[in-house]
């Protein structure tokens, strides 16, 4: 149950959120009345290869953050030998500032389930899991009910969908850690290769896609890949859900065509004023200073999970980077040294900068560590953790330098005053 949730969605190009207001998430008939499940019927009349080909041609890429071409991934799983294959829906939406999957699960769970049914047919999976984060337990009942209604209507004849709940771990949004968690283990990342389409859950070929990615599948099947590929940019097709939060008048989920400008989203739609910087893509996302708001939102530029956090000019960038690093340090699974120890040292260095105890050489330590973590961490967490550090150093280096010189001055004064 959500309290005080006002619907502030003002999407500029509604595909996923199209007719969302007219659909009752507790009643499958309201979804069917809007043409729901016609895409599944269409897909089942095609060969699995043709369905995969259609999705491949649409240019749909993963919406969870990594952006891997969806159809290519399916093809790999489809061609992997073996009769047992799994489909996993990643509903472990833990990326800071991201709440779009929650929105789909809350308002239109049927679109996700229809997308899952089509995907399972394409890759030849008879069993699917939805990995739902523990923080979203209040969505569990509604989702289960939606699954039951799909079963009763006969839409899941060849597919068993099981919900598996997380237990509180950001890293489980990372695909290999998530699979470990479904297997009942600690949610630690796995070394790759092998990649999930070859050997994933229970060492079987597995396709793991984000909620939003799967929800894109029905409209693609219904209206065709050409229609979908006409939207967006060269390498970023379709629309994207953006989650705007922070210093804005109207936080919420906005759906825009990929390639739209960041300024249009944060200023025109969400009503941000006096912007200092924006972080796009979540805790490890890129920092865009106010002078670069014309930046477009796409896989070629910046995107990530679609989290867009806005900071006004009164905010302290070092404090923000420190808090972000604290989060990453806490959520690092601890398996590989560069991430476990690297985030620890970064918290220490950033912490002393925040509290006015910086020393000369701190910037260099951060830079050197960043390079090491980027190339030697096991998974995306450690590899991308340095991004906010490096970006803030790129655009706000003066703040760091000033903080260090102030720290040195403060210490000298203390020494003089005894």
């Amino acid at each position: 149950m959500i309290r005080d949730l006002e619907d502030k969605t003002v999407p500029e190009k509604r595909i996923l959120l199209n007719k969302a207001d007219e659909i009752d998430p507790g009643d499958i008939q309201s979804y069917e009345a809007q043409g729901g499940f016609s895409a599944l019927k269409k897909a089942l009349d095609m060969s699995a290869e043709a369905v995969t080909e259609e999705v491949k041609a649409s240019g749909l890429r993963g919406r969870g953050g990594a952006g891997f071409p969806c159809g290519v991934k399916w093809e790999l799983a489809m061609k992997s030998p073996g009769d047992t294959k799994y489909l996993i829906c990643n509903a472990d939406e833990g990326e800071v500032g991201t709440f779009k999957d929650r929105y789909i699960l809350q308002h239109n769970p049927f679109s996700l389930l229809e997308g899952m049914a089509i995907t399972a047919y394409a890759i030849g999976a008879g069993k699917a899991y939805i990995y739902l984060r523990a923080e979203y337990r209040y969505l569990l009942e509604g989702l289960q009910k939606a699954i039951s209604q799909c079963e009763e209507k006969g839409f899941l004849k060849d597919l068993k969908i099981e919900i598996r709940e997380g237990a509180g771990a950001y890293i489980c949004g990372e695909e290999s850690a998530l699979m470990n968690s479904i297997e009942g283990k600690r949610g630690e990342s796995r070394f790759r290769p092998p990649f999930p389409p070859q050997s994933g859950l229970f060492e079987k070929p597995t396709i793991i896609n984000n909620v939003e990615t799967l929800a894109n599948v029905p409209p693609i099947m219904e209206k065709g890949s050409a229609w979908y590929a006409a939207m967006g940019t060269e390498q970023s097709k379709g629309t994207k859900l953006f989650c705007v939060s922070g210093d804005v008048e109207k936080p919420g989920v906005y759906e825009m065509e990929l390639g739209s400008s960041l300024r249009e989203l944060v200023e025109n739609l969400a009503g941000a004023k006096d912007i200092g910087w924006v972080q796009v893509g979540g805790s490890t996302g890129a920092i865009i200073p106010s002078g670069r708001l014309e930046t477009t939102l796409s896989y070629e530029t910046v995107l990530g999970s679609g989290a867009v956090m806005v900071f006004n000019q009164s905010r302290d960038v070092i404090d923000f980077v420190y808090r972000t690093m604290e989060f990453l340090n806490e959520e690092s699974c601890g398996k590989c040294t560069p991430c476990r120890e690297g985030t620890e040292v970064m918290v220490e260095v950033l912490g002393r900068l925040v509290s006015g105890e910086g020393v000369s050489g701190d910037i260099e330590v951060l830079q050197e560590l960043s390079e090491t973590m980027k190339v030697s961490s096991l998974c995306g967490l450690g590899q991308t953790a340095p991004i906010p550090v490096l970006d803030s150093l790129k655009y706000f280096r003066e703040n760091y330098e000033n903080r260090i010189s102030q720290s040195v001055l403060l210490r000298s004064l203390k020494a003089i005053n005894g």
């Binding site: 149950m1 959500i2 309290r3 005080d4 949730l5 502030k8 939406e93 833990g94 990326e95 800071v96 500032g97 991201t98 709440f99 999957d101 929650r102 984060r133 523990a134 923080e135 979203y136 337990r137 209040y138 598996r164 709940e165 997380g166 237990a167 509180g168 771990a169 950001y170 968690s181 479904i182 297997e183 009942g184 283990k185 600690r186 949610g187 630690e188 229970f202 989650c243 705007v244 939060s245 922070g246 210093d247 936080p251 919420g252 989920v253 972080q279 805790s283 989290a307 956090m309 900071f311 905010r315 923000f320 808090r323 972000t324 989060f327 806490e330 959520e331 699974c333």
Partner: protein, 136 residues
């Protein structure tokens, strides 16, 4: 029982007794034919599982950046004031456990918290007081 059910069984234990005791971990280990260390390893990996008894109600206030920007810290302070304990602690009467948590995906209603399984958003000190007072 199959190995992949281990996490689910630990979660059930947590829900039934409010925490996962050493005895429970030993029993689960025996049931699955794995070491106690393995069960402990899984239990302590996840932040929603606890090896110490929790209160009847668990408050998890979000401390991530979007909530921080909307005075999340001030609200954490008002919870402390209201129930007299700090983060990581449980009240003596076993009514509340107070925790600070990472992003709960309610950034559009920041500052937000989870009280047991329910999300409360757009919090103010007054609202927090009211919500906590309504708990048994």
């Amino acid at each position: 029982m199959e190995r992949n059910e281990l996490l689910g069984v630990i979660k059930e234990e947590q829900e039934k007794n409010g925490y996962v005791s050493e005895g429970a971990m030993a029993d689960v280990a025996e049931g699955f034919g794995v070491t106690v260390g393995e069960v402990y390893g899984v239990t302590t990996f996840y932040s929603f599982l606890s090896t110490k008894p929790l209160g009847r109600h668990v408050i998890r206030i979000c401390k991530s950046v979007p909530c921080f920007l909307q005075n999340g810290e001030g609200l954490a302070a008002s919870i402390e004031k209201e129930i007299g304990i700090g983060p990581g602690e449980t009240t003596a009467d076993g009514r509340f456990t107070f925790e600070q948590t990472n992003c709960i995906g309610a950034c559009d209603q920041a500052p937000a918290m989870l009280l047991d399984d329910v999300v409360y958003g757009n919090l103010t000190p007054g609202k927090i007081k009211e919500i906590l007072q309504s708990c048994d």
